[in-house]
């Protein structure tokens, strides 16, 4: 529970002066993501910059220092019957909210509750000039100035160090139920999308090993009535299954020997025909693939499915790991990066080799 702003700011100013680069690190549980970190760079640690700054359950708004572990936030919210309803993955006890936003990570409820980026109301950010700035606010609606807060989602710290986040929180659902049934890969995409199009309290739809899992949550009467109406068996221990999916503890994700690829695509797109194992989440919008492949080979498949692919974990992390960008967008992103971090101090090459 400490405010380390001053130390962090001094460290950035010093780095700028000495021409040193900095890797931003929170709990260190996402070190496997992105391109390999620059071994020459120093570390800007947010791990001590923790604590809830303000929490108003009645407003549904939480303001928290970026190094605060997800588990601490969830414990505080649980006391008020609330939760982070975008279900941030916890890759370990130390996973922080700042890293979650920087990597734009959200769990199985994401298509229905929105992503981490969607909950963000405002941030404080330390840019490459050592300026500590405030964007957005603590209110649900705020259109003054550009949305620099949500811009950070997926930037992986390349624009600066997020030091504080204000976000929307939600009441915990009163009841949940999980329905499971056998289904082929060919049939399941259509099925999940059809279910998602019904006005029912669905908050999860995934498929693995020939079985489709649908989660219902909300008012008890609505969950029970829908579970009764829809096909599939009510699953014992359904909540545990979703926890495993959320934290990538499901057997599908185990081991590091086979690379893990993430496809973010049109939920209705036919699945790419490529040898390997698949896990569908987000009603078909997020598709995990395990197999030896190259980014160059998978990109056209992702594009044909209306989206993008990235090498999430394992494999060669010295080359590019994110879907390539067209020249015009590259140029804009370089200039945006430059506007926040003119000396290229933060996380050099972590997102793309050219950023």
């Amino acid at each position: 529970m400490a405010d380390m702003t001053q130390q962090l700011q001094e460290q950035v100013l010093q780095a700028r002066q000495s021409g040193q680069k900095l890797n931003i690190v929170g709990g260190g549980t996402k070190a496997f993501m992105g391109r390999a970190a620059d071994p020459e760079a120093g570390t800007l640690s947010l791990a001590e910059h923790t604590g809830i700054v303000e929490y108003h359950p009645v407003e549904l708004v939480l303001t928290v220092r970026a190094g605060t572990p997800i588990k601490d936030i969830e414990a505080a919210l649980a006391e008020e019957g609330q939760c982070l309803h975008f279900e941030p993955p916890r890759f370990g006890e130390a996973s922080t909210i700042g890293g979650t936003l920087a990597c734009n990570l959200s769990g199985p409820a994401r298509p229905w509750t929105g992503s981490v980026r969607d909950q963000v109301l405002g941030i404080r950010l330390l840019n490459g000039k050592g300026e500590h700035m405030r964007f957005g606010g603590q209110v649900m609606k705020n259109v003054a100035g550009y949305d620099v807060s949500r811009l950070q989602a997926g930037a992986m710290g390349t624009l600066g160090a997020i030091t504080e986040i204000s976000m929307k929180v939600m009441p915990k659902p009163a009841a949940t139920a999980t329905l499971v049934e056998e289904m082929s890969l060919e049939d399941v995409i259509d099925y999940m999308n059809r279910r998602a199009g019904e006005p029912k309290p669905i908050t999860g739809a995934c498929w693995v090993d020939g079985k489709v899992y649908l989660r219902l949550s909300g008012a008890r009467s609505a969950v029970e009535a829908t579970a009764e109406k829809w096909s599939g068996e009510v699953m014992e221990g359904g909540d545990d299954f979703w926890q495993q999916v959320r934290d990538m503890q499901h057997e599908f994700f185990a081991g590091n020997d086979v690379p893990l690829w993430r496809f973010s695509v049109d939920s209705t797109a036919p699945n790419p025909k490529v040898e390997g194992r698949w896990f569908f989440d987000w009603a078909g919008s997020q598709r995990w693939f395990r197999g030896e492949a190259s980014l160059g080979d998978l990109e056209p498949l992702a594009r044909a499915a209306g989206g993008q692919v990235s090498l999430f974990r394992g494999g060669d992390r010295s080359g590019e790991v994110m879907h390539s960008q067209p020249e015009a967008l590259k140029a804009i992103q370089r200039r945006v990066k430059n506007s926040f971090d003119p000396d290229g101090i933060f996380n050099p090459g972590r997102l793309y080799s050219w950023l």
Binding site: G137, V143, A144, R150, G197, A219, S264, L329
Partner: protein
């Protein structure tokens, strides 16, 4: 932007007419006149010329020509905006997207719609209804406003707390840059690799690019919706009831509040049967499955009763629901009947400060000698104070502006912001200096330059110059307001 345009009006018109139907390159004052303002008609400027291209390629060529010649470009949808964000530049081109009014494709299975930017907000839901789907954000101008403008302003509506703003409901945009390049931001997936440029573009008020296509998400239409109308004998109790519902774990589809001035004006206009003696009125709409609505309506009624509601009425039919909403939805024109003019503000506050803000507003109302009626998106803290004035009384609009400015500063003081959904445009550019410091404003300018290095896109809007801000903060701005407005646009 400070450079003078390198081409004259005649030269530009000639160039545009070589590839755009000459009828849609407007240069005469009479036809230019309707473009001189947007929904905030107090701010006016005649444009140099207006073009209405019909293809994306034409938009690109317009941008290239303007970029080469340092000509300002103001993109325009339906012109319903409320912050003078689409007010023309006197040496610039208004780029109207009115011809881009086609719904390109609705995908019922994937629950998405591909739209040209000139498609009206309401038209999306009307077209999607046949598939049991609708588009979430519903600004009160939804009958006329366009999706391109919604992206520019990050428009909200009465259902934001549950269903989000424009930024939460779009998947991708196709955009022409200041230099005339065509880029796609976002994808058909729910996210894309790298920094979230889609969020940055949303709400950027036409300062970063010209949107030529939008892909939106559609939602399944709820099975049922019911609205509870609850009256309270004080604003505090009304505010507590809003908190009470949310603490109870219910997220209403819509949660609106009106003060006594607004209640009476709206009831006179709509004959909705509002409790005319109430000091605060809540409209709480619950939507979802039949079971869920049934359960939540009963709980919500109980919460309101416990928290001191003096009257409670729950809609028992679609007609009754529509009637109860009619008063709220017509609150602006209703207020228009009790005053020659009104000026709508758009601050957002943390809800816990509602009573304090309303009380201070009452005090200011006495001080400035102008009445104020309040309608309030209570669920998300977005206030719409309507200041009543008469534009025919010399100097009264200036006093109104001053009053409005104080309200916005009060919103910032209690931890809120100067605009929840209407945008900054020209109107609130002064108050940007109150909400942001120089470093933050400079960062905005630098972001803008990353997209638009020569600053031709909607210059003078959204972000004030630092020189202006320093002046605004340091001196008593009352006497110097007009000079400062000029400086802000520099």
């Amino acid at each position: 932007m400070n450079t003078k345009p390198k081409a004259s009006k005649a030269q530009l018109a000639e160039q545009f007419r070589s590839f755009i139907d000459p009828e849609y390159v407007i240069t005469d004052d009479e036809t230019l006149k309707p473009y001189e303002c947007d929904g905030l008609a107090m701010y006016r400027e005649m444009p140099m010329l207006v073009v209405l291209p019909e293809t994306v390629e034409q938009v690109q060529r317009v941008m290239r020509i303007c970029h080469e010649n340092d000509v300002p470009v103001v993109a325009r949808g339906a012109g319903t905006g409320l912050c003078a964000g689409a007010m023309p530049h006197k040496e610039g081109v208004v780029l109207s997207l009115a011809k881009f009014n086609r719904i390109i494709k609705i995908d019922p299975l994937g629950r998405t719609a591909r739209l040209q930017p000139g498609v009206r907000n309401l038209a999306i839901s009307e077209e999607a209804a046949q598939y049991g789907l609708y588009y979430g954000p519903d600004p009160s101008s939804q009958i006329a406003c366009t999706i391109g403008g919604n992206v520019a302003e990050n428009s909200g509506g009465v259902h934001c707390l549950k269903y989000g703003l424009t930024v939460h409901n779009i998947l991708s945009v196709e955009m022409v840059t200041a230099e005339g390049d065509l880029i796609t931001i976002g994808s058909d997936g729910l996210d894309s690799c790298g920094m979230d440029l889609l969020a940055l573009i949303t709400g950027s008020e036409g300062l970063l690019g010209v949107v030529t296509e939008v892909k939106v998400k559609l939602l399944p239409t709820p099975e049922v919706a019911q609205v509870i109308m609850a009256g309270f004998d004080s604003v505090e109790k009304g505010g507590d009831a809003v908190g009470g519902i949310i603490s109870h774990g219910i997220i209403p589809g819509g949660l609106e509040m009106m003060d006594s001035h607004a209640i009476i004006a709206a009831d006179d206009f709509a004959q909705a049967g509002y409790p005319r003696d109430a000091k605060a009125l809540l409209l709480c709409e619950v939507d979802g499955t039949e079971e869920e609505v049934h359960e939540h309506i009963a709980e919500a009624e109980e919460v309101f009763r416990k928290l001191g509601a003096t009257s409670i009425r729950t809609s028992q039919s679609e007609e009754e629901r529509a009637l109860l909403w009619k008063g709220r939805k017509s609150a602006f024109p209703a207020v228009g009947r009790i005053s020659p003019d009104y000026y709508c503000m758009d601050g957002t506050i943390p809800r816990r400060h509602l009573a304090r803000v309303l009380l201070e507003m009452e005090k200011m109302s006495d001080e400035f000698g102008l009445r104020v009626a309040n309608v309030f998106h209570a669920g998300d803290g977005n206030l719409h104070p309507l200041i009543l004035f008469d534009a025919n009384v010399p100097g009264e609009f200036e006093i109104t502006e001053e009053f409005g400015s104080k309200i916005l500063e009060l919103c910032v003081e209690v931890g809120g912001c100067i605009t929840g959904e209407h945008g900054v445009g020209v109107e609130k550019i002064r108050q940007m200096a109150v909400q942001f410091n120089d470093e933050e404003l400079q960062q905005f300018h630098d972001v803008k330059a990353a997209f638009d290095p020569t600053g031709i896109l909607n210059p003078g809007k959204g972000v004030p110059t630092l020189k202006f801000c320093q002046e605004y903060r340091s001196i008593e701005h009352k006497q110097h307001k007009h000079e400062q407005t000029d400086a802000a646009h520099g």
